[in-house]
């Protein structure tokens, strides 16, 4: 017989004018290999059908089931109950718009930051659908793929102290997204263009290096490393004409394809 788990779950329906935010307690018996996703489904099926939470893939791919688990953002489908104490507290991810209980709207937030950072390849080349796709060095393709692994679950944003205090901060995921275009040779944007997009306190300079984004990322993306590369590039862009060029290029050394010209 497994442990008796106590779940304290945030309940609130913002569209219900009579509703007030509160915590509701559920009890459940733990069974082997139980994940939070399984536990929440069991609670919904057996105890309260009105419990609202998001899920889709059950395998840490879709990023839908992000929530705050005992104070730390994480994916419900990725979190086994055996790694947690008997008492489990669940809250919705902060920063994002609350839809109800544990369900939040990350999509609108990601769409907005995607527009802000112009998250698409900028090129002057006319698209020829009949032409063969341009070849890319395998190592570079892997690098780009590595940055593209973000599942947009929002955990890094929920764990970020700056994002919690300043709602206009872009956050690690958006900078990581831009870093993906920075190393993509098909994107014609120069450091000056990236500087225009993220060179202020709402962008890369807002990051305080708290590392929580890195620590909670379910996909283990090196978010802070990307923030570092982008910050260095944008900072050096901000002192163009002040710092001698040879020092600028020496400090740049980010190992990416774009040159500091």
């Amino acid at each position: 017989m497994g442990r008796k788990l106590t779940f304290e779950i945030f309940r609130y329906q913002p569209l219900d004018t009579a509703a007030t935010p509160h915590m509701q307690t559920f009890e459940l018996e733990e069974h082997p290999s139980m994940t939070l996703f399984i536990a929440l489904n069991q609670i919904r099926e057996e105890q309260d059908a009105s419990l609202q939470f998001d899920f889709c893939c059950r395998a840490g791919i879709c990023g839908s089931c992000g929530m705050v688990i005992n104070g730390r953002p994480g994916l419900a489908c990725h979190t086994q109950t055996c790694d947690l104490p008997d008492h489990i507290t669940l809250h919705p991810l902060p920063v994002f718009k609350l839809l109800g209980d544990l369900s939040v709207d990350t999509g609108t937030w990601f769409r907005n930051v995607g527009k802000r950072i112009e998250s698409w390849i900028h090129t002057d080349k006319a698209f020829d659908p009949a032409a063969q796709e341009e070849r890319m060095d395998n190592e570079l393709a892997t690098k780009i793929f590595e940055l593209d692994r973000c599942i947009e679950c929002g955990c890094c944003i929920a764990a970020c102290g700056t994002a919690r205090m300043r709602e206009d901060f872009l956050g690690a995921t958006a900078i990581n997204r831009l870093a993906r275009f920075y190393i993509d040779p098909r994107d014609n944007r120069t450091p000056a263009d990236f500087y225009d997009l993220i060179g202020d306190d709402r962008g890369v300079f807002g990051c305080m290096g708290l590392l929580a984004c890195d620590n909670v990322c379910p996909k283990k993306l090196p978010l802070q490393d990307q923030l570092g590369i982008m910050r260095r590039m944008v900072t050096l862009e901000s002192v163009r004409g002040i710092l001698p060029e040879w020092i600028r290029s020496k400090l740049q050394g980010c190992g990416c394809n774009h040159t500091a010209n």
Partner: protein, 208 residues
């Protein structure tokens, strides 16, 4: 999107913050190293003090350092949780997340405020009580400044150590793979400096 000019001063604040912070960190390291010989020989420290005074290095550097601290604080303050409710949000967030680096930022903020006030008093008392010597330090310590140094020294070392760590992380010089090594080295460094400072203070106190 309206392109901003790279000459926009607001965009350079981060560079100035990093540069002034790095200069101050370097100063703190050198300052404490120069204090170190006091543990072995107070007369050696007196000789260093005499040299700094005779060359006017102390008289010129002291006000400049205070100005640099003010400048660094003024720039870094834009990130501090001064706006309504921000401090509460951040403290609640730190408690819930319980992530060491998030807590350390709060430590950095609180030590910054202490250093801002403490540095002014420290420089003022030293510069208005020349010469720079172990005897004068001992006199000040016995006149009630011991508590000040017991609080001020750890604050300076913590703020400097965390600041160096953050600089390396924020600018990508400390990558994810090297992070634990960096972290260990920074903490060992802070421990060494704290020990050095504590020994120097004890030695000066015992001279009285």
């Amino acid at each position: 999107m309206t392109p901003r000019s790279p000459a926009d001063i607001r965009s350079r604040l981060d560079a100035w913050q990093a540069l002034s912070g790095a200069c101050l960190a370097l100063f703190v390291c050198v300052h404490l190293i120069l204090e170190g010989p006091e543990v072995l020989s107070p007369s050696l420290t007196d000789a260093i003090g005499w040299l700094l005074e005779a060359t006017f290095a102390a008289q010129i550097a002291a006000p400049l350092i205070v100005l640099l601290i003010l400048f660094h604080f003024w720039i870094a303050a834009r990130k501090m949780p001064f706006r309504s409710g921000e401090l509460k949000i951040f403290v609640d967030h730190s408690k819930a997340l319980n992530d060491p680096d998030t807590w350390l930022w709060l430590v950095q903020v609180f030590t910054a405020v202490i250093i801002l006030a403490g540095a002014f008093f420290h420089v003022y008392t030293v510069m208005t009580d020349m010469p720079i010597s172990v005897a004068e330090t001992t006199k000040r310590l016995h006149n009630g400044w011991l508590l000040f140094h017991v609080i001020f020294l750890p604050c300076v070392i913590l703020h400097t150590g965390i600041g160096i760590w953050r600089l390396a992380v924020k600018f990508g010089y400390c990558s994810k793979t090297a992070r634990e090594t960096w972290r260990r080295r920074i903490w060992v460094g802070m421990g060494c400096y704290l020990l050095l400072g504590a020994l120097a203070l004890t030695r000066a106190w015992c001279q009285g």
